[in-house]
Amino acid sequence: MDEIIGPEEIAVFLEEAEEQLQLMEENVLRMEEEGAAPDLLDEIFRAAHTLKGSAATLGYSRMAELAHGLEELLDGLRKGRLAVGTEVIQALLDGLDFLRSMLNEIAEGKGEVDFPGVDKATGRIRALVEAVSAAEGQAAAGAGAAAGSGSRPKPEPSAPARPEPGPGAAEVQGALYQVSVKIAADCLMPAVRAFQVVMALDELGQIVASDPTLEEIEDEKVKDTLTVQVRTRAAEGELEEKLAGIADLDRIEISRVAVADGVDSEVYPDEGGLSSFSGGSPSPSPDEGSGESRVRRTVRVDVGVLDNLLNLVGELVIDRTRLEQVCRNLRVLEGTGELTQDLDRLTANIGRTTDLLQESIMKARMLPIEVLFRKFPRLVRDLGRDLGKEVEFMMLGQDTELDRSVLEEIGDPLIHLLRNSIDHGLEPPREREAAGKPRKGRVVLSARHEENQMVITVEDDGRGIDTEKVKKLAVEKGILPPDVAERSTRDELLATVFYPGFSTAGQVSEVSGRGVGLDVVKKNIEKLNGSVQVETWLGKGTRFTIRLPLTLAIIRALLVRCEGEVYAIPLSSVVETVCPDKDQVETVAGRPVLVLRDEVLPLVSLAQLFGLGQASYTEPGAQEDQEHYVVLVRVSGRTFGLVVDALVGEQEVVIKGLGEFLNDIPGFSGATILGDGGVALILDVPGLLSSPNMGAVGEG
């Protein structure tokens, strides 16, 4: 370790270590449920080994030591010397937690910090391992010798690869492939990568030979290329896919080695060392170079690059809209000459290409929601323990994809809803049994696409929400005036659980409490132009449904004009637009309302809300000569009418920030650039209608 470790290297390490930890945690939890299946153990073991290697390479010795402890513990399990029990699982999880804490410290730039508990955790793991070894000490002298040199069976010194070719190899059927990878020159941990490659291939079949050998790799004696011969039944594509997941590989070449009849694999390993096949061809292969070897088809791309691409496409979308407008203007001015028609066709073409480009880039930014979901099983397990609830947790639709920008924002709201379900929704086991339900409460988290939206539900089979209790609380806490509460429908009452200051739990628990409630969840989701709803069945359960746009960058919006400016209203908030007759507008208690299909809807003038217009705007129709339009928007289960001067149209808009000094203005979520180059502010309807100028309108 004579090189100085740069921030980039650390970033790579952190990202991968996080992945390994995640993988280990998932599998440890699975192991707790399903018992120690060999492949599960192998997977955890490999992750621990990889982590140990990369931590050691970067000089994080404490992490490496802890990972090594875990590795030994896992090895004990693998060899059947230890049994999976609460103690072992807890030791593994504790170890993972400490590793994660250390990672966080490193991520924050504090370097490797000594946690007071680490030694204890490492010690406990060691104690578990040693207890077993001691007991076995005399019994298995032979096994003990092997364990001394590491966890792996020691290969013959002269053997080129781990599995002995020979009788074993003959049993494995399938084709012989030669896999050759080039490790990136700037790769920090070539040995780790090489190890990953060999392990990945080992999983699919049997390694016949490798150069450098596994031993050499473990001793960090690696070159920039690694060549492995593997006998496997897996298809070439499978091999390729498996390797594509490994970082820092510049080139992957997989070719099938033609084996002449009667010539078995043993020919190659003995041929004066394995290095021979990295240069020439190991066997006369007539097909060589005829497309048998392929270059990998996936690349890792920095998120910044994707963001930039999306921005550029955003520009293109704006320009396309502008171009369409220019075409229209030209048609008015010049009529439909040949040139205008040419331009029309071209514009249509560019429009299509832009759409496709936008779609492709959106797709490239999509991640399966699993990335987010995977941390929940642990969370639910721990929460259930802390709260004395027994939880059966299910996740559905984990491969549903959504834009990473959305993904980054919905983690906290989801955690909150899960907490809410376990803490407030599920009853304690005894109460459940008394109600004739299974002891284990069920919480289901599901994700799916519905039209152009992402729908995520958090569902429990707990006690449900008692609307009568909600009514009482809402009045007590001053959220609803008593007379309003009496008149409220069930849905309206349910919607009050999202009001600030509302909590149905008798006492604020440490878990769901913290002074934040569902109002924060709602606020965060609405910030993303999404919505959250709750349905409940008393005694049977509760379901929260979140609807989100698939991306935050581009939305469909209704453009309206008000006092000379154009505003964009996200279509997700819009119910419908109407141009009311004079007799449809009435006044109730001095406030204008719209009577539409027997419903009475409060009217709010956008101009007045912004302090731009005069009072007369609140009463459309008051001025005979001026027509007004009303955009019906839905907020928290209630419909309002926004009075505007004119409707401009519906179009896709690219959301842009308002800049540092204007970010926190309530009622606006950003701005967009219009076809004519002008700027339109994008309304944040919920924020707008909960703002001070609304006064008592909201109370209807």
Binding site: G314, E315, I318, E565, L609, F610, G611, L612, K656, G657, L658, G659, E660, F661, L662, D664, I665, P666, G667, F668, A671, I673, G677, G678, V679, A680, L681, S690, S691, P692
Partner: protein, 165 residues
């Protein structure tokens, strides 16, 4: 921006000089990204008063501040000479509306004096110094203070107020 305390020598440098009311101001050319003609500003309701609105600068939306309002000078209609000086403050672009941009001046550090409380109607908190040239005075602005903490607090207070309701 460096702390131009008492007695500290100023560096020689180039300044973009502009007019505002009867005064002449200068900002360090290193902070200026570009100077554009006045364009249609989209008003932002509920924004602080000195924020004129936002403009589209080649696909980027940037806030525009009316320096006249910022400095408590009487408002004026935009004229043909009105310019928007786009500056970078804390890596964010902000447009400053000024009456006119006159020139780029090379000023020797020895000509610049720390601000004294007696000059001009502008709050001295915004000033980095006064450049005393042969025939006139150029007020050198400290951009990081033009949108000083006071304004940020004002903005934060505005949004808090609405959240409290």
């Amino acid at each position: 921006m460096a702390d131009h305390g008492q007695g500290q020598a100023f560096q020689d440098g180039q300044y973009v000089v502009f007019e505002l009311g009867d005064e002449t101001y200068g900002v360090d050319i290193a902070d200026v990204r570009e100077i554009i003609t006045m364009q249609k500003v989209t008003r932002v309701p509920r924004a602080p008063e000195f924020v004129e609105g936002v403009i589209n600068l080649r696909g980027k939306i940037i806030p525009v501040i009316d320096l006249r309002l910022r400095f408590g000078l009487p408002a004026a209609e935009a004229t043909r000479s009105t310019r928007v000086v786009v500056v970078e403050m804390e890596e964010k672009s902000i447009g400053l509306v000024v009456d006119a941009v006159s020139e780029v001046l090379q000023v020797e550090g020895s000509c610049i004096e720390p601000p004294s409380p007696v000059i001009s109607g502008v709050d001295t908190a915004y000033l980095a110094g006064i450049a005393n040239l042969e025939d006139r005075l150029v007020i050198i602005l400290d951009l990081s203070k033009v949108l000083s903490a006071g304004e940020k607090e004002e903005l934060a207070a505005a949004s808090l107020e609405s959240e409290a309701v």
